[in-house]
Amino acid sequence: MNRREFLKGTSVLTAGAACLPFLKVMPAQAGGNETLVVVMGSTINSLDIHRSGTNRPSYQVAVNCYDRLLTFGTKTLEDGSLSYDYDNLQGELAESWEVSEDGRTLTFTLREATFWDGRPVTAQDVKWSFDRAVTLGGFPTTQMAAGSTTSPEQFEAVDERTFRITLPHASKLTLPNLTTPIAIVINSELALEHATDDDPWATEYLHRNPAGSGAFQVERWEPGQQLVYRRNPDWASGELPGAERIILREVPSASTRRALLERGNIQLSQDVPPRDAMELDAHPDVAVVSTPIENCLHVLCPNLRFEPFQDVRVRQAIAWAVPYEAIMQNAAYGRGVPMWGGDNSTADDIQWPQPFPYHTNLDRARALMAESDYPDGFEVPLSFDLGQADWAESTALLIQESLGQIGITVTLDRIPGANWRTRALVDKQLPLHLENFGGWLNTPCYYFFWAYIEGNLFNSSNYHSDEIARLVDETLFMEMDDPDYAPKIRRMIEIAFEDVPRIPLYQPTLNVAMQPNIDGYTFWYHRQLDQRVLHSR
């Protein structure tokens, strides 16, 4: 790329630009040609979401550079901020789609779109991309399976622009699952040119070179430093992005990110810790958007493999002993939705998450402990992920202090982020720990499937209930407007209230801070920044 061109594109918007005399003299540019600078705390380690080892922050490349068949519409939340709308499924690459009578055949008609190299997007590309996702193994395969798509035989390119999915059974999750960052459409011909016998899915090539039809192309990628997006002027699957170029900088220190924003050197900061979000909110020149993360809870998990926690009275005692209010103030800094103090022990509706019928009541907790098999208390380590320390550390300290008052001696165990998954979720050996699972697909049954079914990844409490297992089985694929659905979900929630294998602390928020003149920020369930909708006023 030509240096001069790059500088030309760089707008006068940024405060730093004022120091550069040769940029000052450039004509003021019309809106839509601007460069936005976004900072994040983590590293993008691959441009290919299907590749094994690709970390979560890298998913945003899939969001911004690739198209999916489907997407969700946008809705305005109560606080005036924007969010995706789970109830409003829309076409992205698909112009239209049809669901057969039995719900087992989905037929998509593609719109006329081209990849960046000018080649038209065909149904064959969709098939190749989906085949790739279900074949490569690991996360993409697991996520595809959530939509009941597990094998290449289910995908069929009927003609150039017609693509068909056949399902073993109807499922309400299949269509929403096609909006996830996993279900991207890749330029299969370009990828195949770089495939080898050892690497038939071109993972090496796509790892460094995205090949999509999306709104942004990657102009340069310096891992550990920055990624620069450039707008694809020919994007067909949505409204052209407001920013011509977006520079995504990696700044590991949260303090530095905050200082950059406060000084006006950047336009937007992703992953803002709750305390900074609270304080930046008071700052006149910074706008903070905190969106409660759908289907996500910060929970305290007593592991049933640890003997005292097999006693439901002990689990309930803990649920009565947790200092919810203090955690909300000193760990979440008010950025969250209370999930305690529910009115009664039955669920009135199927809203999820909803407040559990517990609040801080040490007398009640002590009484339950006295009734239990462990009246004299016990010792237990409380583990948390160091990568989550910004909320988990204070939370753990507050819980430690509170449980000490009902006779449970807690020691803190900080686990480095890299070991966390293995120890907490795969081995499921941590006696008491803080967990933060959130389901991408926003249905209660989906949350219960991952977090309350024995053996499933996020059930790190090793909880099992025959009834919940049966209810999840029955509801997972059921349409939500089915009259049977709501009673079954209510029952599930009631059991969760009673058994508390996961004690909810609060529903966290996703915090993003930006200059007040930035518009269009939209919350997504995948928690990635959708750069396509950002623009400055």
């Binding site: 949260a254 303090s255 530095t256 905050r258 550390e393 204070s394 300290l397 507050l398 202090e401």
Partner: protein, 295 residues
């Protein structure tokens, strides 16, 4: 080169002379006197600090978080409402303990290995030499990180890691000091009078190499404290809620930009003061044991 034990005919006279010299160094160098007073203060805080502090260093108070310094809370309160002053004072013991144990282990093992290498030479020397070179070839802080990451972050592992990265200093020093005395007159004399090798090494040569090592110990103490603090900053240090300076600075560092400077400043000052003290003390000790300055 005269040394502490080799020059005094009567041990009492030696001690008296040493004290006189100590007094001389103190009065001659105000920095050393200052450092010595600080040292006493730190040791005092470590010994009796926990009984003197006004608040429980672990007690959180959701009602008064992030309070700036005041008469109630001299150093303010932290994000959980804990009293920073109490935490800073109580932390002294742990920090000192880490530094003392780490340096003690490094000194004992390092100087033993070094003394043996220096005394016998040959393969013993070559092998320990190469081992120490290997340790030294790592950026030392990164090696400490690696060890703690691999072994798990407990106080013991922090001590071991700090001890290991300090080993080569003592080993090399002991080797050199012993090697130059290996064939000294008093050693020859001891050998002729039928003393076993290890006796000569332990009672004749080794005590003579102690003074320069004392300097190293003092300097390393400061360094060991900084090392533990650095590990805490990365998240590999002491586990909260235990008060420890490094972790308090590391946690407080995140609050500097938001204007809550007291969280990092006071433990930072305590940390700096301790390291400062040991470093100055090391310099002072150097003067104390330096025979050139004793005349």
């Amino acid at each position: 080169m005269t040394t502490l034990t080799a020059d005094g005919a009567s041990p009492l006279a030696g001690v008296r002379r040493f004290l006189r010299h100590l007094l001389y160094v103190m009065t001659d160098n105000p920095m050393t006197a200052f450092a010595f007073m600080l040292f006493l203060l730190i040791v005092g805080a470590a010994l009796v600090g926990p009984w003197l502090v006004p608040y429980d260093p672990l007690a959180t108070n959701a009602g008064s978080t992030l309070q700036p310094p005041s008469w109630q809370h001299w150093f303010g309160t932290d994000q959980l409402g804990r009293d920073v002053f109490s935490r800073v004072v109580v932390a002294t013991r742990l920090d000192l303990m880490i530094a003392v144990s780490a340096v003690a282990i490094a000194f004992v093992i390092g100087s033993t290995l070094g003394a043996i290498a220096g005394f016998y030479g040959g393969w013993a020397e070559r092998i320990t030499g190469r081992c120490m070179d290997t340790i030294m070839a790592f950026p030392l802080f990164v090696l400490a990180m690696g060890i703690v990451a691999a072994a798990g972050n407990t106080v013991e592992n922090i001590i071991y890691a700090t001890a290991i990265i300090n080993l080569p200093f003592y080993a090399r020093m002991a080797r050199t000091e012993v090697a130059v005395r290996r064939n000294a007159g008093f050693v020859q004399a001891a050998r002729l009078s039928g003393n076993a090798d290890w006796r000569i090494l332990a009672f004749q040569i080794f005590p003579n190499s102690l003074p320069p090592m004392m300097v190293q110990i003092s300097l390393n103490m400061g360094w060991a404290i900084l090392n533990a603090a650095g590990l805490s900053f990365i998240g590999l240090g002491v586990i909260p809620p235990t008060p420890e300076w490094g972790i308090m600075v590391a946690e407080g560092a995140n609050y500097i930009i938001s204007g809550h400077w007291w969280l990092a400043l006071f433990p930072g000052l305590a940390l700096m003061l301790a390291v400062f003290t040991f470093n100055l003390l090391g310099d002072g000790l150097r003067d104390l044991v330096d025979p050139q300055r004793r005349t």
